[in-house]
Symmetry: none
Subunit: 142 residues, 4 copies
């Protein structure tokens, strides 16, 4: 599979946490996924609550599942709640319709994975996700 | 695991029920959980309905999952219904977004478990949960 | 519902643990259920592992589901594995096909609930369950 | 929650992978869990297959669920296949009955989490898990 390397994944998490520290955010959790939504790496900071890895993963995997950011999934959930609810019950790990899950593209525009961040406000979570992608020279999908 | 002992758990349930009797509440159910959300003890009073243990547990486990009281989870559910609904479908036992689930800290501020109470109004349920925590000399998170 | 009272349930757990202490068993967990399989009370002793309440409950609820002891469910699982596997996947909380789950009858032979015990060998678990039933003057089904 | 810190978790994964490189093993995946079975960190090496995080997590979470190593869970599965199968269907993330999942104790003997490793033979996976625990000055249960 054409995907983020583990080295890239670890660097992205480090960059997301550095952004969180710079912004003074609450304890964060970040997950990095391959294009199929499967975890490559995750880290949950001390004092982050028990479900945080699943929340971050639900943002990222949901983004990959629908091909948009989890911010857009959140907007779709407001517009068409039954549609998103129906997808959420498909057993692929759960979808979290809130900003912080972003698809990652390589230079050629090919999907190489996704990142999910949770712990602070959704907007701040997404800022850390975007910082993580930029830190390894890649770019987010729309 | 560093957690509430069974003796503490039983004393907490006894105190919750004593508070309920003092306040003249309906039949109560109380659940005590370790920091990972797993049950240590529960008691459902006579004439309490069949799902009550799961309701109390859903308050407590949801609190631990997100790191806030179930009262706050309830407020989040009003603000962002789809976000909370998406978490609820993750198979960790179910989340109940209503007051009555409270995280328990030891003297050092470390999470040692949680309590969930259900049966009367959410406000009254929470009053019993807080009385239970105070009865064993511990304190609620937040 | 005609069921064990909470006072009976608590006395049964106390008796099960007393039997375990007398026999020198490992940390035990006991669950008491109403005739519909729903929890009335449970207690997990210190140092018992995280899933123990669900294991005990799976013995008792499985016994009620099929109308036999969980020892018999275990024998059925050896004889007809696909039959028991098919039931287990029905979403009623899970069935544990091993001795330690026993249906409880009142003087008139009416089902008033069930008890599940786990923590030591299945045979020892069942001995504690039977001691608990005897301690409150009731009797096991078959 | 009294648990492995993220710094310890990352150091353990690094040590597990160093052991794997020293032994010339296939691509490995390692997961680190808190005492309740929830993920703290994970890393899946390049070319490891898609389900590997869930496999490693199923070893570690199964160990915590039953209070024994996943090697012992594997032996139980040979002796009593229906018992282990019944537990596996309880929705706590899945149990993998094969060596490589080990409970981690602190100096005082308190459970602070667990590690799961997968990718090579179960024996080699377990060797890496044990090396990881030793690398941070902690010790395995049993």
């Amino acid at each position: 599979m054409h995907r983020l390397t583990l080295a890239q994944a670890n660097a992205m998490i480090e960059a997301a946490f550095a952004k969180g520290a710079e912004m003074g955010l609450k304890p964060l959790t970040a997950t990095i996924h391959d294009p199929g939504g499967h975890l490559i790496a995750c880290q949950r900071q001390d004092n982050a609550s028990t479900l945080r890895v699943r929340l971050a993963a639900g943002k990222a995997a949901g983004a990959l599942a629908l091909g948009v950011s989890s911010r857009t999934v959140g907007e779709m959930a407001l517009d068409r709640p039954h549609f998103i609810a129906s997808i959420d019950s498909m057993d692929f790990g759960g979808m979290v319709p809130a900003a912080g899950g972003v698809i990652v593209l390589d230079e050629a525009g090919v999907i190489v994975g996704a990142i999910g961040v949770t712990g602070d406000t959704s907007d701040n979570d997404e800022a850390c996700a975007l910082a993580a992608i930029a830190a390894v020279g890649l770019r987010p999908a729309n």
